[in-house]
């Protein structure tokens, strides 16, 4: 009797989980494994900021009960980073030196915080909020700290700023309108944002830039091009997310920022699919590949990748358009969703 198929999914976010549950729905016999480098089970990334404030506890971060995996026969390997893959032998190499074999592979490794090239030399001074582990690392420090410097700006930054303000922290916010993530801000948006931040204990810096960041005492000294000098306890960079695909480079997969996939989430190598925010999807309308953003897209793509892996030929459709409230500005998106409304 031939051995059952083994579908391996790398990544335990919304894309990976929805791929797994779709596979299980359609194929009751296959062996299904989710591998994740994070030790924590599937959680709501969008709730991380509220978790810092203790508005919610760890239990509210969780999307699924652990038992639901064993109940549906999905093997969950947590805390096991993938170091590389070898498509020829269909092997995934785990960091602890275990080799696992797949018949088909879905890569759903998501994204991590983007560091602007100009800021790389200061990366030791910077903090990010893009994973549970990071949050756990600074949760207590954030509570202790009084003065914050936040720069860049992305959709998450504002939630964080509001939160700090609620905690009566002193916040300096430097926005890069031309490098806002994932879209540039126009003047109207910028003004609206400035307006909405009024009344909060936020010092908004515009049309300025960072000249240098240096450690100073227990904190940091930030100097701006306009000559401002700020002594702060923590510096946070919010410059959006970039695909986590380093482990896949050099194995023969076509990769730009993210792993390049067709509209069916298929990569250039047979039996390997990619979905969610690690993927860059071909858009025939503009004849180029665009990175994927946000929770609802990850969910939809995970499902499509799984269906196609099983032999279907589904083309990814954008999730329904929604209005997203960005500091009073209504941003119409297909990709970002208010997780709080959904949960």
């Amino acid at each position: 009797m031939p051995a059952n198929d083994h579908y391996v999914i790398i990544g335990n976010g919304p894309a990976g989980n929805h791929a797994a549950s779709t596979l299980r729905d359609k194929d009751k016999d296959a062996k299904i494994t989710i591998v994740s480098d994070e030790a924590i089970p599937f959680y709501y990334k969008p709730r991380l900021t509220r978790y810092i404030l203790d508005e919610i506890d760890a239990k509210d971060l969780m999307v699924k009960q652990l038992s639901s995996y064993s109940d549906s026969g999905i093997r969950l390997r947590l805390g096991q980073p993938v170091d590389r893959i070898d498509p020829d032998s269909k092997t995934v190499f785990l960091h602890h030196k275990e080799e696992i074999h797949y018949t088909k592979l879905i890569i759903a490794t998501g994204s991590r915080a983007r560091v602007l090239p100009t800021m790389r030399s200061y990366s030791d001074c910077l903090k990010f909020i893009s994973s549970y582990d990071q949050v756990m690392e600074y949760k207590d420090d954030i509570k202790q700290a009084k003065r914050f410097f936040i720069f860049g700006g992305d959709l998450v930054a504002f939630t964080f700023v509001r939160l700090l303000s609620k905690m009566n922290k002193q916040v300096s916010l430097l926005i890069y309108p031309n490098a806002f993530w994932p879209f540039n801000l126009n003047e109207e948006m910028e003004a609206a944002i400035a307006q909405s931040l009024k009344g909060l204990s936020v010092d908004l810096l515009v049309k300025d830039d960072i000249k240098a960041i240096a450690e100073s005492g227990n904190g940091y000294r930030v100097r701006t091009t306009k000559g401002k000098e700020l002594n702060v306890d923590m510096v946070f960079s919010f410059n959006g997310l970039i695909p986590s695909v380093e482990f896949a480079r050099g194995c023969g997969l076509d990769i730009d920022h993210g792993i390049l996939v067709s509209e069916t989430m298929q990569t250039n190598i047979p039996d390997i699919y990619a979905c969610g925010s690690c993927a860059q999807i071909y858009n025939p309308d503009i004849n180029t590949y665009t990175t994927s953003i946000g929770w609802p897209n990850a969910v939809a793509q995970g499902e499509v990748a799984a269906m196609n892996l099983l032999g279907d030929h589904k083309v990814i459709e954008s999730a329904g358009r929604k209005y997203f409230d960005l500091e009073g500005v209504k941003v119409k998106t297909t990709w970002w969703e208010d997780i709080e409304e959904r949960a």
Binding site: A39, L66, R77, G79, H95, H96, K97, E99, M136, E137
Partner: protein
Amino acid sequence: MKDINIVIEICGSAGEGTISAGEILSRFMSSQGYEIMSFDSYPAEIRGFGKCVAHTRISSSVINSPGKLADVLIALNDGHSISQLSALKKGGILIYDSQPAKPHEEDKSVLGWADPSVVSYGVPLAMLAQKAAGNLRGRNMVALGAIAALFDLDREGFTDSIKARYAKKKQIVIDSNVNSFLEGFDWTKDHIEKKDTFTFDGVSLEPRGEKLIINGNQLVAQAALDADLKFYAGYPITPATKIMEILSKELPGYGGTLLQTEDEISAIGAVVGAGYGGIRAMTATSGPGFALMTEFTGLSVMAEVPAVIVDSQRGGPSTGIPTKTEQSDFNAALYSGTGDCPRVVLAPTDTASCYDATVLGLYLAEKYQTLVVILLDFFLSNSIRNIDTPKKPGPQMLNANVNPTEEDLKDYKRYKFTDDGISPRAIPGTPGGISFYTGLEHDERGRPDYSDKGHLAMSEKRYRKHASVLKEAPAPVISDFDGDRADIGVISWGSSAGAAHEAVATAKKEGINAASFSSVMLYPFPDEALIEFAGRCDNILIPELNFQGQFADYAQGVIKREVTRLNFITGRPMAAEDILDKMREM
């Protein structure tokens, strides 16, 4: 004060230093004032590469059972540790080799099978051992270093325990072990971000004075020496071998003799022979050896010759499961052999009582001129506790011979009828004390007597000893009752008793009205106390490590009531949690 109660398991392959790592951990924790109970399991093969597990429970308060599931699993060997994961608590801690010398095939790494709730720490055990000592042998010490660093144990104090463990070895052995430990400690402090909350930091324990770190077999041997044993004959068998091993070294120094015989039949033959000659003698064995001895056990009882057999029980019947613990020789110990054959059976209930039971056993055998069986089991034989040094037996325990008076010797009757069943015994060579010893039924002078009256009278005499023995027996241990009655009474014996008392104490805290009863004396059993106890309990639970409920059958016969049984034969000792779970169901 912060309460510590943690079970750490180290799992590896024979030869990987699993057991010695466990031993060092126990020693160190004991030196810090903790109560420890540790238990190793290893392959049945005498030399093999099977799975070894060193299980250590560490507590800041008194403990009586080994703990069922581990809080921490240290995997020295991935292959073996995979099956050990089932003994790790949900949300427990796993320490594994993150950079093993060779890659793992699919599904052959322990991390791969860890429950998603487990907190795992990868430490490059092989790599660090190689760095510290130039070979992989020190992986066990690297792992101890990791534990010490993760749980905030004293780096220098721990190093001293390692040095003490290897004190008799060459300096290079000491150095490589210490260096491997330090490498593991420092690497962990520098590289591991702690994700669990367990720590020994902030615990201040009263110094408890010098403790003996010892197992049941060692205590049996020590007790035998202290109780003036002069002759031991035996044939090695797991799990009793250690007793003979120790005595072979020590007994000659105490003026005694040890004889390794060709099998267990001759061993007990020699012991009965020595007993006949009037010197304290014993043997130790396990189920298969005990089975061979049964013919002579009958002779000891019939001819009224003192003999002591320590039976350390293992999985049975027959050769059974040599390295797994069981309490399934209860019936054999009480009823082995033919005929109506009253002997004395004692079963220590914890490590410390192995000492007392041995002293008492030698005493009773001598005084009552009969067979005494001391039932240990694999767990009691091998589990290590830190205990106070036992009190040496007083002179009254060292010579229990009931000698004939001059009057008796005028017309000496070796098997004279007496109220307590004890006939004064003339040791061979005593002038006027010529006696006949025989396995045949006999009259008071020892001459064969097959008459119905004679057989009845002699049987009564032999059984009369039981009533007298009971008067000298240690009283059963009975917990306090909350009020007059208990909903559940737990009755236990042998190595399950500690777990039973602990379970009852915890159950009471949970609001379950429970009481517990255990007895070291198994035969004759303190039936009256049992009936009284059972009469105050609405339900009776009897936990024991055998399939059929051998003691439960006995108890039912005495109290004339159905009892609830808790039996398992997985090779694992009884844990308080097992009994508690059953109590919650009742």
